[in-house]
């Protein structure tokens, strides 16, 4: 799985969760860049990513994640 492939699938998840087809995320995207991405929505994002890529985040990873780029790193390491 390449980084670009992860982004294709990840963008789809963001668009579904925030119900906005214009969203495109990149390495430097953070919650400040997307309307409605608060801590409560973050949970749904995590659950949807876990479902899509077939793995579970560890709590330590979620707590320290700074931006979408770091999320993609974790997905590349653990996901399928």
């Amino acid at each position: 799985m390449t980084r670009d492939e992860v982004y294709d699938r990840l963008n789809e998840i963001f668009r579904e969760i925030f119900d906005d087809d214009s969203i495109t995320v990149c390495d430097s995207t953070t919650s400040a860049d997307i309307e409605g991405w608060d801590s409560l929505e973050h949970i749904n994002l995590i659950v949807a990513v876990e479902e899509e890529f077939g793995f579970k985040f560890q709590m330590g990873q979620v707590v320290s994640m700074k931006d979408v780029g770091e999320m993609v790193d974790i997905i590349l390491e653990n996901g399928d």
């Binding site: 579904e16 409560l40 949970i43 749904n44 659950v47």
Partner: protein, 597 residues
């Protein structure tokens, strides 16, 4: 919406909930508006968002009050202005065993464990009592899930100082409270979490990360289950089953295999599967669910199958048997017409996907569970929550008997040329009186589930029914009808409110199973008599049209009222002068308070 029917895809619902919500809200009403306060001991954000989807799917449009994180007890004990002015119709208390303040320590004496149990229970009881005083609305409290770790291992189950034992005993005290307090309902998350798997349900990741007491993917299950309780309290349960026979009630095709070649009964493993399903359906019948047959078969063959000695459902267990070669949607309509219920109050049970699709397309709102494998039929219907029992009255117990009597009445009617002669031959007796405490539950239930013969479709809580009964200003009447075939129970409810010398009829409803029996005339006679006695000069009746109550559009005209107002939506107001009213009932012998003086 198919996506919200059991078995739903939880991940999909969580991911797509914004889009789903939008499309549900775009659907045409009519909506039942309800205010629900959710008081949580953990995060409740997604519990609310999922509950909203399932309720919208049932035609219920909720507004929510959500307590601040973990403030369930404070909100219930000392509600702030926001909650007070919200005036909830329902309060849901979502707590978790993590909210239990003090557990016994291993080795604590039985007395100490008992003391803590008492303390913890009264912490909760105080809260429910406070809600009772301040809001008087139904309360749904979930019980406690089992702790996710067990210090002493298996010993925790029975040792009085074990947490597992403590939670079990605390739950038992909740159930005692529920048994003795009408309007207090338990949501059994102990069962839900067992079905889901406690290890996944209580995944500590979600508690420590977001303070959710259950894992987020399990929230749709919790919300669906809660929506079933609410739907039941609002009278939106299904009422009847329309059952296919071949490959559904038994294995094989009776027309081809003959009754002796069918699979049912204890002899084979497949036979046992069908026997277990039949037994489940028979128990549903005892709860008041009406059983009917909708099968492509010759009647003779259908009856031969049902009369098979191993069949646990006999022809007399069904109200209507439609066994013919008509399309199944037409048979559904025929069953609905005979029972005087709406097709959408039914569940169609058929193993054939093509038949299901036809019925599903013809009647949106009618439930059509997906059945694939016979050993799963019972669980599929069970988990769908069509018949969630929140109250179980004498009427429920006797419902099948009452409907069967109705079918016998219909065949008697066919033997009379004159309808009034037929009514007289029924030897009807009615009791028409003010509300009585033993009937409050049944009266409340009727106000919440009657849709067709209902002039204003006003829904009442039990507390409001008690208030109507107690108020001098209100006129409250129930009618109970009995005839030579049996007792129909409470079938009509009327509530009026007096202002000056005018009585406004706030509620007038009747059960459709006593349609055209003269009961509405008897009720009107009684209302007019009471109004004359009280010196009222005017009775005003109101008709508010809904999707379901067209049958009573001209009711007040038929009763001799005069129309005084009509607006663009078809809402009408009607007037009657009780002094000029002549009694209309000549076929029912009525007993009221007057006769007992």
């Amino acid at each position: 919406m198919r996506e919200l029917e059991y078995p739903f895809n939880s991940e999909y619902l969580l991911k797509k909930r914004r889009a789903l919500r939008k499309s549900l809200l775009n659907q045409e009403g009519p909506w039942v508006e309800k205010r629900i306060a959710v008081l949580g001991g953990s995060t409740t954000h997604d519990v609310i968002s999922m509950l909203e989807l399932f309720l919208l799917n049932q035609g219920i449009r909720p507004q929510f009050y959500e307590s601040e994180y973990g403030r369930f007890w404070q909100d219930a004990m000392f509600p702030d202005e926001e909650l007070l002015s919200f005036r909830p119709d329902f309060i849901y208390i979502h707590t978790t065993s993590r909210n239990i303040r003090a557990f016994p320590e291993p080795g604590d004496s039985p007395e100490r464990a008992q003391e803590l149990l008492g303390q913890e229970f009264s912490y909760f009881r105080q809260m429910w009592e406070s809600i009772g005083e301040k809001f008087g609305c139904p309360v749904i409290q979930n019980n406690f899930e089992l702790p996710d770790v067990r210090l002493m291992g298996n010993r925790e189950a029975f040792d009085l100082s074990g947490r597992v034992n403590f939670v079990t005993r605390l739950n038992e005290k909740l159930y005692e409270y529920a048994r003795s307090h009408p309007g207090f309902y338990i949501q059994d998350i102990l069962y839900l979490s067992a079905c889901y798997g406690l290890d996944r349900w209580a995944d500590p990741f979600y508690w420590h990360m977001y303070k959710y007491a259950l894992c987020v993917p399990a929230i749709p299950e919790l919300a669906f289950n809660l929506a079933n309780i609410l739907k039941s309290l609002l009278g939106k349960n299904k009422k009847a089953l329309a059952l296919n026979l071949d490959h559904t009630l038994w294995g094989g095709v009776v027309g081809d295999d003959g009754p002796e070649g069918l699979q049912m009964g204890p002899e084979t493993s497949m036979g046992q599967v069908y026997a277990e399903f039949q037994s489940y359906l028979r128990q549903l019948k005892n709860l008041g669910v009406l059983l009917n047959v909708n099968s492509k078969n010759d009647m003779e063959n259908a009856l031969a199958g049902l009369n098979h000695p191993d069949c646990m459902l006999k022809p007399e267990d069904f109200i209507v048997i439609q066994a013919n070669w008509e399309n199944k949607d037409r048979n559904i309509q025929a069953i609905a017409d005979t029972l005087h219920i709406l097709p959408e109050s039914m569940v169609f049970v058929d193993d054939n996907p093509a038949e299901r699709e036809i019925v599903r397309n013809r009647f949106p709102g009618l439930a059509v569970p997906e059945l694939d494998s016979p050993e799963q039929y019972g669980r599929m219907i069970d988990r769908s929550g069509f018949f969630e029992v929140t109250a179980f009255s004498e009427d429920d117990r006797k419902r099948n008997e009452m409907y069967r009597e109705n079918v016998r009445r219909a065949s008697l009617q066919a033997s009379f040329d004159d309808y009034e002669d037929y009514l007289k031959s029924l030897e009807m007796k009615a009791v028409i009186r003010g509300f009585e405490p033993v009937l409050y539950d049944r009266i409340t239930q009727l106000t919440n589930k009657s849709n067709q013969f209902n002039l204003t479709t006003r829904r009442y809580t039990r507390t409001e029914i008690e208030q109507a009964a107690a108020s001098e200003q209100m006129i409250d009447l129930y009618g109970r009808l009995e005839d030579k075939f049996g007792d129909n129970g409470v079938v009509s409810v009327v509530i009026g409110n007096q202002e000056g010398d005018t009585v406004h009829i706030l509620l007038w409803l009747m059960s459709c199973r006593v349609l055209k029996r003269g009961m509405e005339e008897a009720m009107m006679d009684r209302l007019a008599a009471i109004c004359r006695e009280r010196g009222d000069k005017r009775i005003l009746g109101y008709y508010y049209p809904t999707a379901k109550n067209a049958m009573v559009k001209d009711f007040y005209q038929r009763m001799g009222f005069e129309k005084t107002e009509e607006d663009a939506d078809g809402n009408t107001v009607w007037r009657l002068c009780p002094d000029h009213y002549e009694n209309q009932n000549h076929v029912i012998k009525v007993v009221s308070e007057d006769d007992e003086r």
